[in-house]
């Protein structure tokens, strides 16, 4: 029991969480933009998986993790443009397009693995160059923080930066204000001179770029390989983080980090002989728990809100 409690606060778990969190945080911070702009996207998993593949490919071909990630971001944006054309231009339903894209992505990457690398299931090669870890000198002196934060790959730090940047963009710039306006009341935003379509597109592309980067981190964080369905549900966790965090980049990142933390905790806790099936449930139960708590808090806060109960609108677009 004591061991378990110690594990909960151990720096090892937090260090693991920081690493695991990077793709989740980056992906979900991107998702904040679409959420705020009122576009309903479920397809995080698609963007991440596709870009994980192309990051592997890019890194393999160019010999540079950064270039690989860039290629991944490009491809992810291309897929996003497909989504945008279908949903914005052709008025297709966002949910159905998302689901189709998610399952399409799995089939496409697996087939690409065959046609590009002539392998099935996984591709592993020393020529896939991963991101380098970065050592921050002044952290060397600080005992716990050094373990938790130092010597991580670049994108881990980028995740923190992106969260802050997204917050500033969302709440401190005209762009963010208008973006939120578009999501809140599109007609009103239009009369305020906002080009709705442009803002929705911009948000979508930001999201795809972030998911692309998030996806690229997964194969390039050291393992230097791609396996089919490599993202294994991370996209859904990103989505959950965005919905729980309500599109606020800081809250969303915290939730994403929480998922990563439970994941890291799992890896330690399985050593104690607890049933893995139950331990694996932790992140998902955590989502529900966080939702309940946040709703309870919101309810207490809304002492003055609109009277009658509000229901989420039917999901369209």
């Amino acid at each position: 029991m004591q061991e378990i409690l110690l594990a909960v606060i151990s720096p090892v778990v937090f260090a693991g969480a920081v690493r695991i969190a990077a793709p989740l945080v980056i992906g979900s911070v991107g998702g904040c933009f679409t959420e705020k702009s009122g576009t309903f996207v479920l397809a995080y998993e698609c963007f991440m998986l596709i870009s994980a593949f192309f990051a592997t490919w890019g890194s393999y071909v160019t010999g540079s993790a950064v270039l690989g990630a860039l290629i991944a971001v490009m491809v992810s944006i291309l897929v996003g443009i497909l989504f945008g054309i279908l949903v914005f231009r052709f008025q297709a339903n966002g949910m159905i397009v998302s689901i189709a894209l998610i399952y399409g992505a799995w089939a496409v990457t697996t087939l690409l693995l065959v046609s590009i690398f002539q392998v099935r299931g996984s591709f592993i090669s020393p020529d896939i160059i991963s991101f380098q870890t970065i050592s921050i000198p002044f952290l060397n002196q600080v005992p716990v923080l050094n373990d938790v934060l130092n010597n991580k790959i670049g994108p881990v730090y980028l995740a923190f930066l992106l969260t802050g940047a997204a917050y500033v963009v969302m709440y401190k710039t005209p762009f963010g204000l208008r973006l939120r306006g578009v999501g809140m009341n599109a007609t009103a935003a239009q009369t305020a001179g906002t080009n709705i379509r442009r803002y929705k597109w911009t948000a979508l592309i930001i999201m795809c770029a972030c998911c692309g980067l998030g996806g690229a981190i997964i194969p390039l964080s050291g393992v230097s390989m791609f396996t089919e369905n490599m993202t294994s549900g991370r996209g859904f966790l990103c989505l959950a983080a965005v919905l729980v965090g309500g599109g606020n980049p800081i809250k969303t990142s915290i939730v994403a980090f929480l998922f990563a933390y439970t994941d890291a905790l799992y890896l330690t806790l399985t050593s104690f002989g607890l049933p893995t099936q139950l331990l694996s449930c932790i992140p998902y139960v955590a989502v529900i728990f966080v939702l309940i708590v946040s709703k309870l808090r919101a309810r207490r806060k809304a002492a003055l809100g609109a009277g009658r109960l509000k229901w989420r609108k039917k999901v369209t677009a």
Partner: protein, 325 residues
């Protein structure tokens, strides 16, 4: 299909004998991980022998029955199934197949099933022994007296690896402590990497034995980064990273080729076959011997001999894993 052209097989097979032998592999896990590739290697050996081979990667449990029926209908004499769910489906269909296609024989790969179907053979290469030897080697090689094991999920099949390893380690050195954990996902190497890193950070392990499918390379990577040694699984994994000094191999390819040729030769096929050490199965790769001290090499060889002659009972404290055939 598996990207293999049937024409090649047909071209190779035609002239050697009057009847073309056809073998089909129905797998629940896709090609692309060491174990399935290993099985497929066995099929490719058959292809060399002039067989026609086919691999079907079934992704969903609802497809198994269709696939088995149809392949029997297509005239495949040898059908091999992998992953217990496929094998279970095959067992359920066995009587029907026997009635309609009496010549077809089904090999249930990597299962340990007791059954009464005349046209089925369960073929296993029990990882317990190879894990036992790996545990023995690890217990002799460890400096810190702590060794680790990482599997993908806590399911029965994977526990054979863990417990064989523990038994072997205890046999080699009762003072060695074995720690274990699970990645929770068998497709995600980054989870494997994290699990490896966490174990290295949490315990003074200096050797980790991984049994986690596609997450395995992640564990190997973590060991390499953490500067410790790793033991590979299924196939020889020394090619993945220099830190892999030993592999607990499971020579399924040999078994596959062997049973298929037995069938072709018209030998009597038992209901169960285990390619254990006693039956001449290998548990390690010769290439790894150079990685351990000479003295230990001898000990390992001695151990394998002892297991083969029954002097050492690997299942001693783990009766539930003992195979009754």
């Amino acid at each position: 299909g598996c990207g293999k052209k049937e024409e090649d097989a047909a071209a190779g097979g035609e002239e050697t004998s009057g009847e073309t032998y056809k073998a089909c592999f129905i797998t629940d896990g896709n090609l692309g991980n060491d174990f399935v590739d290993l099985i497929w290697k066995g099929f490719q050996n058959l292809e060399q022998e002039g067989w026609e081979i086919k691999c079907i990667e079934a992704t969903d449990n609802s497809e198994f029955a269709d696939d088995i029926r149809s392949m029997a209908g297509e005239g495949y004499q040898v059908i091999m199934t992998w992953e217990d769910n496929v094998s279970q489906a095959a067992l359920n269909l066995a009587d029907e197949i026997y009635k309609n296609y009496p010549k077809t024989h089904i090999f249930l790969l990597d299962t340990y099933v007791d059954h009464d179907k005349p046209n089925c053979t369960s073929v296993s290469v029990d990882p317990f022994e190879s894990s036992f030897v790996a545990g023995f080697v690890a217990s002799k090689m460890t400096q810190t007296k702590t060794i680790g094991w990482i599997g993908h999920t806590d399911v029965l099949k994977i526990r054979r690896f863990r417990d064989g390893y523990i038994a072997g380690a205890a046999y080699g050195d009762p003072d060695v402590e074995v720690v274990y954990s699970f990645t929770g996902d068998y497709l995600d190497p980054t989870k494997g990497q994290e699990a490896g890193s966490a174990m290295i950070a949490n315990y003074p392990v200096d050797i980790i034995y991984q049994s986690c499918y596609l997450a395995g390379p992640g564990v190997i990577k973590a060991c390499s980064e953490g500067g410790i040694k790793c033991i590979g699984v299924d196939d020889w994994q020394g090619d993945l990273d220099p830190c892999v000094f030993w592999s607990a191999i499971k020579p399924m390819d040999v078994a596959v080729t062997q049973v298929a040729l037995d069938y072709k030769d018209g030998k009597e096929l038992p209901k169960q076959m285990d390619f254990n050490i006693a039956a001449g199965g290998a548990v390690y790769d010769e290439r790894d011997l150079k990685n351990i001290p000479e003295e230990l090499q001898k000990e390992v060889k001695q151990l394998v001999d002892d297991i083969s002659t029954g002097k050492v009972d690997v299942y001693k404290n783990f009766e539930e894993y003992r195979l009754e055939y």
